[in-house]
């Protein structure tokens, strides 16, 4: 495949894989509760995930080192072990939420039993990850996720107030309605929204994916273009979801908490075609994220422990890695088969994610900026400035996340 085609496909895949169930829930919630006022958080989070994914991809391309190999080397076994356990818990919760979301979608289409679909999702994804090569998984789900564009089309059809959109891009510390409870909720949704955009598994998966795809130093530019353009387009989709919250669900006085509710916006504006695209887009987006999180957990464990890993190797050469992703997928399915509400799992996974972020980003920043390790590919002044800024920001967000979670009745008000 030519370089241009590869870049183009990479951009589309990154865009299609940008939104998953956590982001869907929190972008819609942000728009419903605060209109366009939190749009700036979307931009802030996207620049953050761009900065750190670019670093992770660059380190993978230049040194062939994934994130958790660096975490263990740089943070030491004990602190690295804590980061590993926390990241595994987050991957498990996120994977469970995605599987629950897929089961809800299948139930909507077929009117069958939810628990059966949870188990079916486990079997289906286990077979898919076992059989399909890495690049196929990445592209099929990434490109399928592009159907989510239907939500942006829906918003355009509704006709947003562009003046409000522009105002929403200006950061503000508190919402326009100024009660203390509203301010706490605004802060919680802002932190959760940023966390849902900067999910830690995305960085782990992206770097491991670079190694799976056999990136070399010559691919540093490809990495940069894919991250910058693909994530920027993905962010537009996330912003469109905020817009739908503001311009469709808020006027209907609905707090959209489930995929079925989100789909009502597309069916309202675009009829059955809109409904089909919304359900298809969500299926690929959640499915891609379910696979990415279970693989990401297995990558982290294998990289930390020094086991052979990767989809590019035959299963018999990576027995512990293969067992790890199967067990993770199974545990995630068992968690949601108990009947726990997947949306509640989303809330917990997002809050847990933000707590893990600084622990993962810190070692990555240390390596990416180190000229002895990265040579001429080490961070420039912009990457360093962004790296430190976001490290401080996610640390503050991590400190605030749990108190805000409890003070806002788990983000409900």
């Amino acid at each position: 495949m030519g370089q241009a085609a590869e870049v183009f496909l990479g951009i589309l895949t990154a865009m299609g894989g940008f939104v998953e169930i956590g982001e869907l829930v929190f972008t819609l919630t942000a728009g419903t509760r605060f209109g366009y006022q939190l749009l700036w958080v979307c931009v802030l989070g996207t620049v953050g995930i761009m900065a750190y994914c670019e670093m992770a991809g660059r380190v993978a391309a230049v040194r062939g080192r994934p994130v958790f190999s660096l975490v263990r080397e740089r943070a030491g076994f004990a602190a690295g072990g804590v980061t590993l356990v926390a990241s595994l818990v987050v991957s498990l919760l996120t994977c469970a939420a995605e599987i629950g979301g897929i089961a809800l979608l299948w139930q909507l289409v077929s009117d069958g039993p939810y628990r059966f679909f949870v188990l079916l999702a486990f079997v289906a994804f286990a077979v898919i990850v076992w059989v399909l090569p890495f690049q196929w998984i990445e592209r099929v789900y990434g490109l399928g996720g592009l159907m989510m564009i239907v939500f942006a089309v829906t918003l355009i059809k509704i006709g947003p107030d562009w003046g409000e959109v522009a105002q929403g891009l200006v950061p503000r510390a508190a919402p326009s309605s100024g009660s203390a409870r509203d301010t706490l909720l605004y802060a919680y949704v802002a932190v959760a929204l940023m966390s849902s955009i900067m999910l830690p598994y995305e960085t782990y998966f992206y770097a491991s994916g670079g190694i799976e795809d056999d990136w070399k130093p010559k691919d540093v530019t490809l990495n940069r273009v894919v991250v910058l353009v693909g994530f920027a387009l993905g962010a537009l989709l996330a912003m469109a979801l905020i817009g739908l919250g503001a311009d469709f669900f808020a006027p209907h006085r609905i707090d959209p908490q489930a995929p079925a509710t989100a789909a009502l916006a597309a069916s309202d504006a675009l009829g059955r075609a809109g409904l089909a695209l919304a359900l298809g887009g969500m299926f690929f987006a959640f499915g891609g994220a379910a696979i990415e999180t279970c693989l990401s957990g297995a990558y982290n464990l294998a990289q930390f422990a020094g086991w052979p890993w990767g989809k590019h190797l035959p299963q018999r050469a990576t027995p512990r890695f293969t067992l790890a992703w199967i067990v993770l997928l199974l545990l995630a399915a068992l968690l949601v088969v108990t009947g726990i509400d997947p949306v509640q799992v989303v809330e917990y996974s997002i809050v847990a994610s933000v707590v893990v972020l600084p622990l993962s980003y810190f070692p990555l920043l240390m390596v990416a900026k180190d000229r002895r390790i990265m040579g001429r590919h080490a961070n420039g002044w912009l990457s360093n400035a962004l790296g430190w800024f976001y490290l401080v920001l996610v640390t503050l967000a991590a400190l605030a996340a749990l108190p805000l979670f409890f003070l806002t009745h788990q983000g409900q008000g």
């Binding site: 139930q107 009117d111 609905i254 309202d268 059955r272 509400d341 400190l399 605030a400 409890f406």
Partner: protein, 147 residues
């Protein structure tokens, strides 16, 4: 300059652990909004009533196939059950009890309507939607703490 990375990472971990402990210690003092849980449960029911109205409206327009409507009603019914349980578990001070009772009655009406929709897949008969939604909205507003 040599940065002792393991120590710095442990420091970040310690700060995060403090953040985990803080809410437990502070929750008792700060969550003095005694109708908070009740208001949230009523708010959920209000949102679910609005969603049901939209679902019915789209089903009547023929936008949604009956099988899809049945499945959506099944999922919404579960969500209403959870909100009703939350309502039952929420502490209600004497002044808030009439609103809690009104919301409980609305939840029962919602569940009845959802059960009908789940069986038929299309809206049948009149839905007491507007007054029901108005009742829930009123209860939610009455439970708002003073600004």
């Amino acid at each position: 300059m040599h940065i002792p990375l393991p120590r710095l990472t442990r420091l970040i971990g310690l700060l995060l652990a403090c953040a985990c402990i803080a809410p437990g210690a502070r929750a008792g003092g700060m969550l003095d909004d005694e109708t908070g849980e009740l208001r949230i449960a009523v708010g959920l029911l209000r949102s679910q009533a609005e969603e049901l109205a939209l679902l019915r409206e789209q089903a009547q327009r023929g936008v949604l196939p009956p099988r899809y409507v049945r499945a959506h009603a099944t999922q919404l019914e579960k969500a209403v059950e959870r909100a009703r349980q939350q309502l039952a578990d929420a502490p209600a001070p004497p002044s808030a009890r009439p609103h809690a009772e009104s919301a409980k009655a609305a939840a029962r009406e919602l569940l009845d309507e959802l059960a009908r929709l789940r069986h038929s897949g299309r809206p049948q008969g009149p839905f007491t939607g507007p007054p029901l939604r108005a009742r829930l909205q009123q209860a939610e507003q009455a439970l708002q703490p003073p600004a």
